[in-house]
């Protein structure tokens, strides 16, 4: 037994060996993909259903509140959401919220959606990109204010500097009264959205978020404050499956399964080492 323990022990450069193994397994998982069946979670299904069931002609505030570091987790959800919205006839207000890189993410996702950059319809009439606004919750609160927060909080201009007076879509959008659904890609746990959109104004909320924030987001979904949620790349892949357009999330998940097995292996090895060490400490041979 002790020989086995010594064999699996990695005394020097332990972290480097682990990094190397993870990267090797990741490369292997892409060159030899193992596609495990993907079951759609209730939260993902609720996210999809809420968008599909929304009557035509409603106004959706779609926030891209994530940055390039979260692209792997949320890029797929963002593109899949755009693909889904294309099939509907709603007005889409795309906002980076308080994410400095949000504008870049919007541009990237619009370019990668099915049908290309202008697939959502005519700019300024069917959809618009709103500018970045600093301040997180104070900015959201200002946006929702009556009588004209959606204009004044954003300096009366869109992302490209065009006056909102020249954008027909903004004629009917002034405050919280004109928003029928908030979809937030990257919500930092959804607390901000629930506090500033859901609780004070009753706006239905959908959130796609990274796995780190899932524990908080799940709480809001369970208590009904958020209608549905996408969990990281796995949830994004489920949404791609529901829409029927496989994208970057589906390919990411193919590699994820094998890596999880590796992590489980590390946990098992670590525990065996720990228990063996404790056994030796107590005088076992």
């Amino acid at each position: 037994m002790s020989d086995v323990i010594k064999f699996i022990r990695i005394p020097k450069n332990q972290s480097k060996v682990i990094y190397a193994l993870i990267i090797i397994v990741m490369i292997f998982s892409y060159t030899n993909p193992i596609l495990l069946p993907l079951n759609v979670d209730l939260e993902t299904q609720a996210y999809y259903n809420t968008i599909v069931d929304l009557p035509a002609g409603k106004t959706i505030l779609l926030a891209f509140a994530f940055d390039s570091g979260q692209w792997g987790a949320l890029g797929g959800a963002a593109i899949a959401t755009l693909n889904l919205l294309q099939t509907k006839n709603d007005k889409i207000l795309i906002s980076p919220f308080s994410s400095v890189e949000g504008g870049l993410m919007i541009q990237r996702c619009l370019g990668l959606q099915k049908g290309g950059y202008n697939a959502l319809g005519k700019y300024g009439v069917d959809w618009v990109i709103l500018p970045y606004g600093p301040g997180d919750e104070t900015f959201y609160a200002a946006m929702m204010q009556e009588p004209n927060g959606m204009h004044t909080a954003q300096g009366n201009k869109d992302y490209f500097g065009t006056n909102m007076e020249n954008l027909p879509i903004m004629d009917n959008v002034h405050s919280h009264k004109d928003i029928d659904l908030l979809i937030c890609i990257g919500g930092a746990g959804a607390g901000h959205q629930v506090r500033q959109f859901g609780v004070p104004y009753g706006i239905p909320i959908l959130v796609a978020d990274i796995a780190v924030d899932w524990a908080e987001l799940k709480m809001f979904i369970d208590n009904g404050a958020v209608k549905g949620g996408i969990k990281d790349a796995v949830g994004s892949a489920e949404l791609e499956k529901l829409i029927g357009i496989p994208g970057i999330a589906t390919s990411t998940v193919a590699g994820l399964s094998l890596n999880h097995l590796l992590i489980i292996g590390f946990i098992v090895v670590g525990n065996i080492q720990y228990l063996y060490g404790r056994y030796k400490k107590r005088g076992g041979k």
Binding site: V199, I210, A215, N223
Partner: protein, 209 residues
């Protein structure tokens, strides 16, 4: 996509970032500085746009109240002067006070009442065993988690209160499970980020389609 110049440059930079996992090196430092430079550039550009749109143009259009906000903003720069740095405290106080008011006005309803109501409305018995066990766990976990933070019965262990001790221990395990789930989710999230970049590098060099 394979071997496109833009992507090849990006893929080389990704390899530069990953190289820190093995040893600190000059290639990583080079990539790190590029990253910081670009991030700062984007942030400054975004901030400039906000200042012009919200702080200057409205004044030119006759909204002179914005001058007050601009002055408050300029006061923040007084931090660079030893003699006048105290002036920045007024602006900071305003920012903190306003933010706190906006954060907390709905926090109780969103974070506390909503969650308690959800648990209270959760039926103990459902039509499937897994659902029943899950709901039972939610109830016990909530009560036990709260008991763990009750310190008025004699501290921990809560002397002479065996029921409290049992629930306190269950509460401790519940909290530990939560942290475990949180940590597991963190690993999952970070792995996803690396996976996507690895697939990007492999695609860029034509190793996978």
């Amino acid at each position: 996509m394979a071997w496109e110049v833009n992507n090849v440059i990006a893929a080389i930079l990704v390899i530069g970032v990953i190289s820190i996992a093995f040893k600190d090196n000059i290639f990583f430092k080079f990539v790190e500085r590029i990253f910081i430079g670009i991030t700062l550039g984007i942030t400054l550009t975004a901030a400039y746009g906000v200042i012009v749109n919200n702080g200057i143009i409205p004044i030119l259009q006759g909204n002179y109240l914005v001058i007050v906000a601009d002055i408050m903003g300029l006061l923040l720069l007084s931090r660079f002067s030893k003699s006048y740095s105290w002036l920045s405290r007024y602006t900071l106080a305003l920012i903190v006070g306003m933010s706190l008011a906006i954060f907390t006005r709905t926090a109780i309803s969103a974070l506390i009442i909503g969650s308690i109501a959800a648990v209270v409305n959760t039926p103990l018995i459902t039509n499937n065993l897994l659902g029943t066990v899950s709901n039972l766990y939610a109830w016990v976990g909530l009560v036990a988690g709260l008991v763990y933070f009750v310190f008025t019965t004699g501290g921990i262990p809560k002397q002479g209160k065996p029921i409290f001790n049992i629930f306190s221990r269950i509460g401790r395990y519940t909290i530990m499970i939560y942290f475990g789930v949180y940590f597991g989710s963190t690993v999952l999230g970070r792995e996803t980020v690396l996976l996507e970049r690895i697939s990007f590098v492999l695609r860029t060099f034509g190793i996978i389609p």
